[in-house]
């Protein structure tokens, strides 16, 4: 799919001719994105897939401004993330919720304190209002009764749910999921996917999921972006990947989708 101005209007995030190369010691270099353009549609779920080290997590970090591209633009609501200063980035990040691969919960804080942290730090809500809001989220995500536990006392699936609860506290417009089912068993993975689907329908945010869990994760996708050898190919559904005539896409499908 080629990038077009018409499609750009419907997109929450747009990559416009983005390149990113990493330089290792002794002059070695690895180009993870090579002049790629694609968009993430508003209010939909986009899955970013690809092999290890192909630049999936780098893509998320570029969106959040944690990394800068070598060239090109990354537009979030029309603003170029790559050209923003720290205070603008801080402002922009209030639009985002992020669920990290390992949930990135604060070890020294309880489940309640972890979920309340963005509310305490970013809003002027009173403690009673924060408690009410956090308890309601805990109820929705079936975590009630676990609020006084520490992250080390939780199972993998519960950590992901607490991470999601924290990511959703500020009612973000865009939620980024970095390998959300890594380390979970198949049943828990399914449960987490159902939860994502339910929350996305309920809250209507734009979801971006980076995942290795192919082909299961494609069931959630309204758009699929395959990142491979610096190129990004965009598909509307998994069947298009299977029927692609590009050799590297065919190779990817054969290796990961069992065809």
């Amino acid at each position: 799919m080629t990038y077009s101005a018409a499609a750009a209007e419907q997109n929450a995030i747009e990559f416009v001719r983005v390149s990113k190369t990493f330089y290792a010691e002794q002059g070695r270099q690895h180009r993870v994105l090579n002049d790629v353009s694609w968009g993430i549609p508003k209010g939909k779920t986009t899955v970013i897939a690809g092999g290890s080290g192909q630049g999936k997590s780098v893509t998320l970090k570029l969106i959040l401004g944690l990394l800068k591209p070598d060239s090109g633009q990354i537009l979030v609501d029309g603003q170029d993330v790559a050209r923003m200063g720290q205070s603008q980035l801080r402002q922009l990040r209030t639009k985002f919720g992020v669920l990290f691969q390992g949930a990135a919960l604060f070890d020294s804080l309880t489940v309640f304190e972890n979920i309340a942290l963005p509310l305490r730090e970013r809003t002027k809500l009173k403690e009673a209002e924060i408690r009410q809001k956090v308890m309601a989220t805990l109820e929705t995500l079936e975590l009630a009764g676990h609020e006084e536990k520490f992250p080390a006392q939780l199972s993998g699936g519960m950590k992901k749910r607490v991470g999601l609860a924290r990511a959703l506290q500020l009612e973000p417009e865009i939620v980024l999921f970095d390998e959300p089912t890594t380390g979970l068993d198949p049943l828990m993975t399914l449960e987490i996917y159902r939860l994502f689907e339910r929350m996305q329908k309920q809250l209507g945010y734009t979801a971006v999921i980076v995942s290795h869990d192919i082909p299961k994760v494609f069931e959630l996708a309204d758009r699929i972006v395959l990142i491979n050898k610096g190129e990004a190919d965009v598909f509307a559904e998994a069947s298009q990947i299977i029927n692609s005539d590009k050799p590297h896409i065919r190779e990817f499908a054969e290796k990961t989708m069992g065809i």
Partner: protein, 270 residues
């Protein structure tokens, strides 16, 4: 062939240049880190409870180790001073020698080294683990300034508690010197305190206080900075290994920095 020869010949220079650039980049990052940590002190919301928690950890938590270090150092100074001064018939100057050494040198240095070993290593490991487990990235993604949230409370707590610990070190050390020099070695009690009072002026105390402030800053800066940049430090490896290596590095670097700055400050302030 010619190209290969040139490349082989130039490799050490490339390597040297690469190392210099890495060092400059590291120093620049650490400089910006310190500025951001100071700026974080003035950003709202102020984390008063976290400052109290850090005061308890860095300050109150270090009191026992500072007490024993100060007592033994003071006693050794009392014994050595008494033995040496006796040879010159200057035993009456024992109080002066012990207190000057403690207030201007040993107090600030040993307090800083103890805080670096106890609290600095813990700070570095805590922040390093938060970095590798993406907790610091999570703060940034929640638009929470990690400097204001994590680093500035530690900086403020150290700047308050290290000079107080140094003052405690001085008092306990002087008492240790009294125990060893007067009670054990038989020096005169009156001359111990009177020589001390005659030789210690505001100037000596000011030097000790300035040193303790600077050392507190160095220890927190280096310890938390190493932890914060654990993912970017060359040769540190990855994961738990990188945190352990960087924690050792933080204690060694902050100890060396304290000793170097001690000389520089003594040269400037004396």
């Amino acid at each position: 062939m010619q190209n290969n020869k040139i490349t082989a010949w130039a490799t050490p220079f490339f390597h040297f240049g690469d190392q210099c650039l890495a060092l400059l980049s590291d120093l620049g990052s650490m400089g910006l880190f310190l500025l951001s940590a100071f700026a974080g002190l003035f950003r709202r919301p102020f984390r008063g409870r976290e400052v109290l928690r850090q005061l308890s950890f860095i300050g109150a938590g270090s009191m026992a180790v500072i007490f024993f270090t100060a007592l033994t150092s003071g006693m050794v100074l009392g014994l050595q001073g008494s033995y040496t001064l006796k040879k010159f018939g200057a035993e009456g100057m024992l109080g002066s020698a012990v207190s000057l050494t403690l207030i201007m040198e040993l107090g600030p240095i040993l307090t800083a080294l103890m805080v670096a070993g106890r609290a600095g290593s813990a700070m570095c490991a805590e922040i390093g683990i938060m970095r590798i487990s993406e907790q610091i990235d999570a703060l940034e993604c929640m638009a929470v300034d990690p400097f204001r949230y994590l680093i500035s409370p530690k900086l403020l707590a150290a700047i308050i508690s290290v000079p107080l610990l140094t003052a405690m070190f001085d008092v306990v050390g002087i008492y240790g010197g009294y125990l060893a020099g007067v009670k054990l070695m038989g020096a005169n009690s009156g001359s111990y305190f009177s020589s001390m009072m005659l030789s210690i002026t505001n100037h000596e105390i000011r030097i000790g206080v300035i040193k303790s402030f600077v050392f507190a800053l160095l220890v927190v800066w280096i310890s938390s900075g190493r932890g914060y940049f654990v993912h970017r430090i060359r040769g540190a490896g990855f994961g738990a290994e990188s945190v352990s290596k960087v924690t050792t590095q933080a204690v060694v670097l902050s100890s060396i920095a304290v000793l170097i700055f001690d000389y520089l400050l003594t040269a400037v302030l004396l």
